[in-house]
Amino acid sequence: MTDVTALERPRSQWADVWSQFKSHKGAMLGLIVLALIVAFVFIGPWLWRIDPKYVNPDAVQMIKTRNKPPSWDHPLGTDQLGRDMLARMMAGGRVSLAVGMVAMVISMVIGGFIGLIAGFYRRLDGPLMRLTDMFLALPLLPLLLVLMMLFRDSLAGLLGPEAGTFLLIVMAIGVTSWMQAARIVRGQVLAIKEREFVLAARSIGVPPRRIILRHILPNVMSSVMVAATLGIAGAIITESVLSFLGLGFPPDFPTWGRLLFDGVEYMQLYPSRVIFPGLAISLTVLSVNYIGDGLRDALDPRIRGR
């Protein structure tokens, strides 16, 4: 027992994954850029204390301060109502990122659940996969637009314009984007179900619910993580598309997509008002996609450790 220290410490699985992830240059760069964006959006408002919704109540002052080019007072200029663009970018990013995260969680929960159940119980496999196929055949963008048109006003009346729209967008994106995750999880469960450790668990009388939660779920987590990362990117894009088509958040509630939509009207005179929100969306999605790419390589044991 004395020479334990001489042995190399056993490396955990996650240390392996991390060391593989670090060697993916694009993924590391993506992680850094994403961290900077998150810091800008969440820590920024504490340093830059201008209210993004502040419109000068004095009309003369408001007209004087609107559509200003970048200056020290307003590093990204002001919009058509004299609101500070930097503060609006921060507020918009918070909403965009929150929509991406929450919608991803919803779609992973639905997709993971359906995938696990379909893979584990053979009787449910057929019907659930037909359901997945049907959802894949739905025209998603038109349906999302229709959902937004039909439910926005009533939900906004129920929960207030901001919470209502947020809930609707997040639910709509989650319900229309779980299919890939369900297919991936089902495929993995089908393979894992036949492995010896599941047979061992079954033979000592572990109930199916425990087998799924303790033995199968941890083994599919890695592919769920990759799907989740890519899901965030997809959800952010979908939200900005909805906002861009005028069917997203209400006008006084900034998100990056909404800012871009508002900026399009003024794009000939003030192109920066379109460029900044668009760049923010693109950079976020690009870095998230690169992180997903790196994660996929890092979590794949065939590639890891080469």
Partner: protein
């Protein structure tokens, strides 16, 4: 193969019926119905008449079956009538738009050519760009060209099309003034100069869509080529002393095209969805614009019909992709 095709076609019918029911119920049972759009100052009896004139006072399932009949029986017979001059349709009720009181299919017939010109050209050009990039990236894996190709693909599907569109408008339409920013749908191609004008105004929207499509297809081509370049038959071909050109472009490329062709077929319906955004950016008056307009105007028959047409396209191209895969790859046997 034939039995498989027939089985898939038969399976597509219940799928489509289910989808049409979902779309119909979703649009119909939602709280924001068009009835609530009628101003409250309209007297109740007039309101009742308006609802009746739109046929919205019938129970849901009757309207659903009526719509099904109109979509699958009445409208096709009108199309046949207009082609052959027969009179199958008679004077049966067609699906009418609530905005314009015109038959929905007439509106779609007017709008579809605009979408098809832009989307079709863009998809074609996208494929033409994507294939060489994918092939060369795979052939020189991890070279600087491959790295650039990866970056190009990543940017291509990370940057949303509305942003690329807007940036292109700012650079090429506003600053350089090379191309118009708005697509003129009334332009008729009669002679060489109007054809040039059409090409001129198509450049920006087609570029946006083509870049987006090329990104995805080039990735698929690359991974498919990589898989085949490592196969034994490629080594055999080289060992026989064939030129590198023949090995790559004849043997490997042909086999790599099998999955790529199916991806191309699968991608077509989503391209129509993506075109909704591009049409909005460049003000192309296609079916995407018709859908957005109908949504803003609460025009339920138009929205239902267009959404269902998108669904039919998706199911149809899924089927085509599967069958193509079976025809092209002799290793795949469905029966």
């Amino acid at each position: 193969m034939l039995t498989y095709t027939i089985r898939r076609l038969l399976l597509a019918i219940p799928t489509l019926l289910l989808i049409s029911l979902v779309i119909f119920l979703l649009v119909d049972l939602a709280p924001g119905s068009p009835m609530s759009e009628i101003p409250l100052t309209v007297p109740p009896e007039v309101r009742l008449k308006m609802i009746k004139a739109m046929g919205a006072d019938q129970p849901v399932f009757i309207r659903y079956f009526l719509w099904l009949k109109q979509f699958f029986i009445v409208e096709p017979s009108y199309i046949i009538d207009s082609w052959f001059g027969t009179n199958l349709g008679g004077d049966q009720q067609r699906i009418l738009s609530w905005q314009s009181r015109a038959p929905v299919f007439d509106v779609i017939g007017q709008r579809l050519p605009q979408t098809l010109t832009v989307v079709g050209t863009a998809y074609f050009i996208g494929i033409l760009i994507a294939l060489p990039i994918g092939v060369y990236s795979a052939y020189r894996q991890y070279s600087w060209f491959d790295q650039m190709g990866t970056l190009f693909a990543m940017i291509g599907y990370s940057v949303p099309t509305f942003f690329t569109g807007v940036v292109l408008i700012i650079v090429f339409a506003v600053n350089l003034q090379w191309f118009p920013s708005i697509y003129d749908t009334t332009l008729k191609i009669t002679d060489w100069s109007s054809f040039l004008k059409q090409v001129h105004q198509m450049v920006l929207p087609v570029t946006v869509l083509a870049l987006f499509n090329a990104a995805e297809i080039s990735r698929y081509t690359r991974s498919s080529m990589l898989e085949n370049l490592g196969q034994d038959y490629a080594r055999t071909a080289r060992a026989k002393g064939m030129s590198e050109r023949t090995v790559v472009l004849k043997h490997v490329l042909r086999n790599s095209m099998i999955p790529v062709v199916t991806v191309i077929a699968l991608g077509l319906p989503t391209v129509f969805g993506g075109a909704i955004i591009t049409e909005q950016v460049f003000k192309v008056n296609g079916i995407g614009a018709a859908l957005i307009g109908a949504i803003h105007a609460n025009d339920l028959p138009m929205v239902q019909t267009l959404a269902f047409i998108f669904a039919v396209l998706i199911v149809l191209f899924n089927l085509i992709a599967d069958i193509l895969y079976g025809i092209l790859d002799p290793r795949i046997r469905y029966d």
